[in-house]
Symmetry: C2
Subunit: 205 residues, 2 copies
């Protein structure tokens, strides 16, 4: 295809820029899965997305910005999946199904690997982590607010701890134990975390 | 103990190969932290441990065996730390302090990275994971058996889920959120996981 044709076709389809963004971010996730943060090449991403490298740099001036944007897109997909089911249990199950699907595929593995990159890549990884943390909080807050209104939330329980143990538990199973995360396993996880481990009588505090 | 006494004791131990094993496994963990599973070189490990490559291969015929042995050494260190404090809360806190220390250092990061290695390394990673899983179960079982005897264990609670959410929660905080795992944070984690998130009255099941 001639350079000119490619340009005009691209312009027509991408008048508002959204498809370019989508293409670049999807290719970024693929690169992350294949090469890790260490091997991630903006040039190769641009080539695979069929855009100019300068267009990538104009929008995302650093590799950290690009990776953060790609991960935010993943999180947006997850957040959109958090349902309002009418119960804390149902909402958490809905949220965790998205986490489990992500964690069981190449993108989830790549995202966690990227966060654990060697120190040479830590500035990129920690920029992405800070951006993601801010980004990930809204759906969790909304879910807990609904639970409080329904009287399903014990005074003093921590939303941050709840999400850490649930997400951490799913990642532990999918990535470290390499076990399938079934709906049934997720339900046991949520039930135990909501209910606790000790019998009521012994819970003195 | 006098220097001389210590020396002669070490010689006796060295005759049985223990210090060689220790040196090789420690260098293996260092290599893992520096180069990852992908870059791990048995030759370099042997050189750094000042032993012959053939002595390494005689004891650990494959890279998988060597990595599994190094990780088992790490777990043995953790298992030795699980105390019998007289309460489930205290035992879990003691156990998690070891996990937190490991997760916050280069070895912990390397171990988790190794488990998430690209598919080319998955045979090594999964051999290590299987060996470790078997290895890690005994201390957890003993801890839960003590809790049951004390009446601190709700019928139907799952030991495996408990350990997944606790260990997963610590790894999530230390490695993904890059936040310090303090004693105080660990205590909140254990308290919430033991007690649950919902108020007793709403726990219908």
């Amino acid at each position: 295809m001639s350079h000119q044709k490619r340009e005009s076709r691209r312009d027509a389809g991408r008048a508002r820029g959204a498809p370019i963004v989508e293409a670049v971010l999807s290719r970024t996730l693929e690169e992350l899965a294949e090469s890790g943060l260490e091997g991630l090449s903006v040039e190769r991403i641009a080539r695979r997305a069929e855009v100019n490298k300068t267009s990538v740099y104009r929008r995302w001036p650093t590799r950290g910005e690009l990776v953060a944007a790609a991960l935010e897109q993943v999180l947006d997909g997850l957040a959109a999946q958090v349902p309002d089911t009418g119960s804390l249990r149902g909402d958490l199950l809905g949220m965790l199904e998205g986490v489990a699907t992500l964690a069981s595929g190449p993108t989830g593995r790549a995202v966690v690997r990227a966060a654990l990159s060697p120190s040479s890549q830590q500035s990129v990884a920690s920029l992405a982590a800070r951006r993601l943390k801010a980004h990930a909080e809204a759906p969790g807050r909304a879910l807990v607010a609904r639970a409080r209104r329904r009287g399903e939330w014990r005074a003093g329980a921590s939303r941050e701890l709840l999400l850490s143990v649930l997400v951490g538990g799913v990642l532990h199973r999918a990535l470290l134990e390499n076990q399938p995360v079934t709906r049934r396993w997720l339900a046991s996880l949520v039930d135990q975390v909501l209910r606790g481990v000790m019998p009521s009588a012994t819970r003195s505090r």
